[in-house]
Every structure is written in C-alpha cells, then in structure tokens.
C-alpha cells in the first residue's frame, strides 16, 4: 500500500488556520511545525495532534522532520524575513521536495523564488487578478469560485491514468467525453512534457498510463468517469 502524502506546514496564524483545517480533511497527513509557544498552544487548542515545536532557523531540527521527496512543504510564517529564510533552509536541505510559500508583496515573491520555492501564492497578485476578472470576466469569476469551493456540486478533478486503463493509448481527440458529461481541460502528457497542457493548445495528445488529466464536471459524473478511467 502506498504511503499517504504528507504536508508540513510551517506557521499557524489566523489566516493560515483555514488551510490547515482544509488540509486535515484531505487524504494526506498534516504536520504543523511551529516555533512560538503561542502558535503551539492555539494549534493544540484547535485539535491538531501532530504538532512539532522546533527552532525553524536550526537546520538540524529541520533535518529531524525526515521530509521525503513526495511530501509538501508549506511556508506560511507571518514574518516574511523568516519565511524567506525558512524557504532557503528547506530548499538546501530537501532540494527535490515541493515548497509552496505565501507572499505578501512582489518583492517577497521574487525573494521566495530565488530562495527555491516551487509555487508562490502572492496574496496581492491573486487579489489583483480577481479584481480584474470581476470587472472583465464576471461569469468566469463565478465559475472559478464555484470550482474552488468544496461545497459545490461541480468541480475540477485530477485523475492519474493507471496501467491497464481503458483509455490507455487512446488519442484525446478520439475520445468522446460527452458520454460522461465531463469536460477535459488539459493534461500532463508525460510522453511529451511534464508541464500541464491545455486541450486547446493545439497539441495532439495521447492518453498513456502515468499521465494526469484534469476535468471539470458535476461531482457524480466526475466520479463515474474516474471509475471508468481507473478501471474500478
């Protein structure tokens, strides 16, 4: 049986507690890594069990976390200096692990990028994009909101194509998604690249085992399609 993916979240503030709460519902193991007593007490009071209190500037303490390549490292410390420093430490200690960091300015984003963060969520960048979309693409904004909401009846779904899947070896254009009432947005065609390709990019893709496809649809249709793809 495959190991559960793990996420290490560094920092626990009023804002990031939302992420921690949502992550605890997901199929992954969440470890909170905190340095202050106050954050530790709060996390404990909120019901988290796997909490480690360490000095995040101490590399030896970080090493003891035993982070693996497939894990996620989430840097959401409120102090941006510490957040950048932590990102740099984590990147030097675990260079192949994905680091996701939160930024509150363009300048911090640049620094986090240089420090080795793989994905940076810039608070103001995403908000500015949203402001723009509210004005120019109101329908799109509503749709994306619904897609991101865990309570909606339709959503995005990532599906990994396993070996022996009925769609293994099928060209994307030949497959009738209408039958499953889902829309394929794009995929990672590992035969070509490890990057995400939109279905509208004009590239002729083929479904192979190991590829990941992203679809939108009503939850039950997505489930039906996933069962079909995974041959369940």
């Amino acid at each position: 049986m495959a190991h559960k993916k793990r996420a290490f979240m560094f920092g626990y503030s009023k804002s990031s507690s939302f992420v921690a709460k949502q992550l605890s519902y997901e199929n992954l193991h969440l470890t909170l890594v905190l340095s202050s007593d106050e954050a530790y007490e709060k996390a404990l009071a909120d019901g988290y069990i796997d909490i480690k209190q360490i000095d995040i500037t101490d590399d030896e303490a970080l090493k003891e976390l035993e982070v693996k390549e497939e894990d996620f490292l989430v840097c959401v410390l409120e102090d941006k200096h510490y957040n950048v420093f932590l990102t740099l430490s984590l990147h030097s200690l675990f260079p192949k692990t994905v680091i996701i960091a939160l930024s509150d300015s363009l300048y911090t984003t640049q620094k986090l990028k240089m420090a080795g963060a793989n994905r940076i969520i810039d608070l103001y960048q995403v908000s500015a994009n949203r402001l723009h979309n509210i004005i120019h693409k109101p329908v799109t904004t509503k749709l994306v909101d619904r897609l991101l909401s865990p309570y909606e009846e339709f959503s995005f779904k990532e599906i990994d194509i396993p070996e022996g899947s009925p769609i293994d070896g099928t060209m994307v254009n030949d497959f009738n998604f209408e039958e499953y009432k889902v829309i394929m947005v794009g995929m990672i065609d590992r035969r070509l690249t490890n990057k995400f390709l939109f279905v509208t990019s004009g590239v002729e893709n083929r479904f192979d085992s190991g590829d990941t496809i992203v679809c939108i649809g009503y939850n039950e249709d997505l489930k039906r399609f996933e069962d079909f793809v995974c041959n369940l």
Binding site: F72, R119, V126, S127, A128, N133, I135, K195, F196, T200
Partner: protein, 518 residues
C-alpha cells in the same frame, strides 16, 4: 387676463420637454466644462475674438474691403449678442420660479402674485448683468456701432472675453485671487510711496527742474522710478530730489521682489491643485473610468498588470502625499485627495459616466466610509472593495459594495489547491492570470447576433480550437455548466469559452460574418 396668459405661458415652458432640452444644450455649451462639445464652441468663440482683434489692428493702416466690415459688424457681433442674451437666459429659470411660487400659493391658499414670483428672478438676472464677465460681454458688442469710431477701441474688450474660453488665463486669475489680501496691501503701499514721493519731488523741484511743471509730472516720475523702468525723461536735479529718488529706487526693488515672491508662492501652492483638476477633467471626458482609492499593494499590483489595458481611463486617489508621489514616479495618474470626502468624488462626472470605484485603502473603516460616500452620491457607481475578514466583508456589503474581495481567502484557496491538486493548480493559475495558452473568455450574444437562434450543436467549437464550458442567461442569470447541446442560443446569453486569445478572437470575428465553423 394677461396675468393668466403669462402664467399659462410659464407652465407651458416648465412642462415643455423640447424647451427644457434646448435650454440644457445651451447651458452645456456655455457653462458645463464636462460637456464633450463645449471645447468646439470655445474654439469657435476664440477664433471670432482673434479675428475681430486682427481686423482692428489691420484697419489702422489699411482700408478694409466692405465684406470684412460686414463680417465684423454683422456676423461676429451677432454671435456675441446671441451669446450675451443666452447667458442672461440660462442664468436662472423664470418659468420654474413662477410655477414653484404658484404651487406654494395654492398649497398655502394665499393670493398668487406674478410680480412677486418674477421679481427675484429678474433681480438675479440684473445682478448678473453687473458682474465683470457680463459687462465685458456687453462692451464687446459695442464696437459694432460704427457712427462712434471711439467705440472701436472696445474691440479690446473682446480680448477679455478670452477669460471665459481659455482655462489657463482663468486659472491664472484664480490663483492671483487667492492672494488678494497680499496684493492689495502691496498696491496700497505702492500708491502711498508714489503719492508721497511724487508730492515731494514736485515740492522740491517745481521751481528748479524744467521737466516738472505739475503734480502729475511728479507722480508720473515716481511711478516710472518705483517700477524700476526709469525712462529718463524726468530726472531730479536737486540734492533733495536725488535723495527722494534713491529712497524710491530702493523701495521699488523691494516692492518688485515682494510682488514676485507673492505670485510665485501662490502658484507653487496651487500648482498641484491645478494639475489635479486638469487630470480629473481629462478623466471625466472619457465617460468610462476607474477610481482607485488608496495606493497600496493591491492597487500597485493591479496597475502593474493591467495599466496598459486601462490606458488613461483610471485615477488613483490617496490622502497621503508620499503615496501619490510614489504613484507619479511609477508613471500612474494620481491625485492627493481624501476619497471619503463628498466633494472629492463629486468632482467626477457621476451622472453621465460609467464609474468603477475600488476602495482599496489599508483600513477597513476607511473603505466602508468610501463605499458609503460613493453610493450616497450615486447608486450607479460600481464599488469593489477588499476586506480583511468576514465581519468586515458583511459590513461592506451592507454599505452597498457590489463586490468584496478577501485577499486571504483567495490566497488560501490557491494554497490549498496547490497542495491537494497541483496539476489543477497550474490550470487555475493560468486561467486566472490569463497567461499561457488558455484563457477563459466570455462572449455575449448581443454583439454577435449571428449566433442567436442557433443550437449549440450547430456551432463547431472544436473548429476554432475552443472548449465550450457553459452558458449564462444575462449578467444576473444562472450559470449552466456543460448544457444540453440541443439548447438554442438566445440574445443576451453569455458563452463561456476556453482557448487561446487568437482562437477566441477568430471565433468572435467569424460570427460577425457567416462562417459557423461547420
């Protein structure tokens, strides 16, 4: 009987839409700086003024052909007369006051007096006629009366009319008006020195200096000397006269420096305000623009991403001077004002413009106040704000905000997606930023009439390399994800499509033609 007739006439004017529309147009041409055709009227009037002054100068040494005189007398003067009368007419509304007074009299069951009702209006018009601007207008008409050649000099009053039509001269006068006290004090001081020194030189030199024969010569000499012009046609010859002369020269230099410093300081104080007013006027002319209240991180990032798309149809308002300077340095249009003030937002052409206001200051309290301020001025202003938490977001909505953005929530959702569904994160990130090879775009069927009445299955989206996601009925309708392909497209439907920018544009262009992509 006559009274009844006049009253009926007043009611007729008051209720006549055509009359009101016509008066509004005239008012816009004469008085509304935001009216888009006013500048053409101003240019026309300036041209007439320049033409008539040019004729006056040319006439000094040349004989004018009769048609030039005709143009000057009949056309130019006719236009000026019409303008003069029109200004008196739009100054206030007689019919409105009469109807109002009649209504009040009826309500209070008292006797209606037509004269009483009209008196205030005529009095106000009379006082208008005595204003400097109206007097200049009147004097500018007089040169047309040819039997009195001396009246030709009144053509120069037409130059004063330029004050009405050129903003810079107007602003110069306005700036000087702010230093009225200082300038008047100086004027009195100069007059005092001119008089005392003029009298002194007259007393000391009247008998010995052949150039000084009267008190007027003394005053003339004093003025020429104090102004540091010094023609030299009159110069003192006695010791006493020379001492007076030295004192006048010294005080003259002091006066000139003082006047210069007063004018320069008033300009430097007002320069920013003048620039900002000009900026607001320019923005108002666009008819559709955005107002960013607060130049913080979010405004900065927004403009960094989208300022090219916006062109010059936006303005930043910040009450902190250093923030405004920062915005200027980065090449953005900004004014130093407090957006929560009623008079600041009122400067914008709220009634006729399509305004989107972003309340993005760092303070939730200020944002709520800005929302209330904007919405109290007009419900049509679209207000988008940011809020730090849910309770503030609710307050903003209660205050009337059309959209509330919560940066933490959006960022957290993205963060969560990046961890739990990393591939999907890439897709959503690309969609939200409109980058890479995919954009989500909306096509409203009003503009693309050829799609109306077609079934979805009749439109070959694949041909355009587009992905059809869903449809929404109008801006406020429900979004239908992946609808039945037999659905017929209607006017005002919004199609949500995904694809490259080129594909979307190709699709839009095609449906202005006949290609259905089948």
């Amino acid at each position: 009987m006559i009274k009844k007739f006049i009253l009926r006439f007043a009611f007729f004017l008051h209720t006549s839409k055509r009359y009101k529309r016509f008066k509004a147009i005239v008012e816009n041409f004469l008085l509304n700086p935001d009216y888009k055709y006013k500048k053409y009227f101003d240019i026309f009037m300036i041209s007439l003024i320049v033409l008539s002054v040019a004729i006056l100068i040319y006439e000094v040494e040349h004989t004018m052909p009769p048609w030039v005189d005709f143009v000057d007398i009949y056309i130019v003067t006719f236009v000026f007369t019409i303008e003069y009368v029109a200004r008196v007419w739009v100054h206030n509304s007689w019919s409105k006051e009469v109807v109002k007074a009649h209504g009040e009299a009826k309500f209070l069951k008292k006797k209606f007096s037509l004269w009483e009702a009209s008196r205030g209006v005529f009095k106000s018009k009379f006082f208008y006629l005595l204003t400097p601007a109206a007097l200049i207008d009147l004097l500018a008409i007089l040169p047309a009366y040819r039997p009195l050649r001396v009246l030709r000099i009144f053509v120069l009053f037409r130059v004063f009319k330029l004050l009405r039509y050129t903003k810079s001269i107007n602003q110069f006068v306005e700036v000087l008006a702010t230093k009225k006290f200082e300038l008047f004090t100086l004027l009195f001081l100069i007059l005092f020195i001119v008089f005392t020194s003029g009298i002194a030189i007259y007393v000391f030199e009247e008998k010995s200096n052949p150039d000084i024969n009267s008190l007027f010569d003394g005053l003339y000499w004093a003025l020429i000397t104090i102004s540091t012009v010094g023609y030299g046609d009159i110069s003192p010859i006695t010791m006493e006269g020379r001492i007076v002369s030295m004192l006048v020269i010294i005080s003259g230099i002091a006066m000139i420096s003082f006047v210069t410093s007063v004018i320069v300081s008033s300009f430097s104080e007002k320069l920013d305000e003048l620039k900002e007013n000009r900026l607001v006027e320019e923005i108002n002319k666009t008819g559709k623009f955005m107002i960013f209240c607060g130049y913080g991180q979010m405004t900065r990032v927004f403009l960094r991403n989208y300022s090219k798309e916006l062109g010059s149809n936006y303005i930043i308002i910040d009450k902190k001077r250093d923030k405004v300077e920062e915005a200027f340095k980065e090449g953005y249009q900004a004014i130093h004002e407090d957006a929560s003030r009623h008079d600041v937002i009122s400067k914008f052409n709220i009634e006729y413009s399509d305004i989107t206001l972003f309340a993005l200051t760092g303070s939730d309290v200020s944002n709520v106040y800005i929302i209330l301020n904007a919405k109290s001025l007009s419900k049509n202003i679209k207000v988008i704000t940011r809020a730090s938490d849910e309770s503030i977001a609710n307050k903003c909505k209660l205050a009337g905000a059309d959209h509330v953005v919560r940066p933490n929530i959006i960022a957290n959702k993205m963060l969560l997606t990046a961890i739990t569904q990393p591939v999907m994160y890439q897709a959503i990130y690309a969609i939200l930023t409109g980058r890479h090879l995919a954009q989500l775009d909306e096509v409203m069927l009003v503009e693309h009439q050829k799609l109306v009445s077609l079934k979805l299955e009749e439109v070959n989206f694949k041909h355009y390399k587009l992905l059809f996601i869903g449809i929404q009925r109008g801006l406020k309708g429900d979004f239908v994800f992946n609808p039945d392909k037999r659905r017929v497209l209607n006017e005002k439907d919004i199609l949500l499509l995904m694809g490259r920018e080129a594909s979307i544009n190709h699709f839009k262009n095609s449906f202005q033609g006949v290609d259905y992509g089948t």
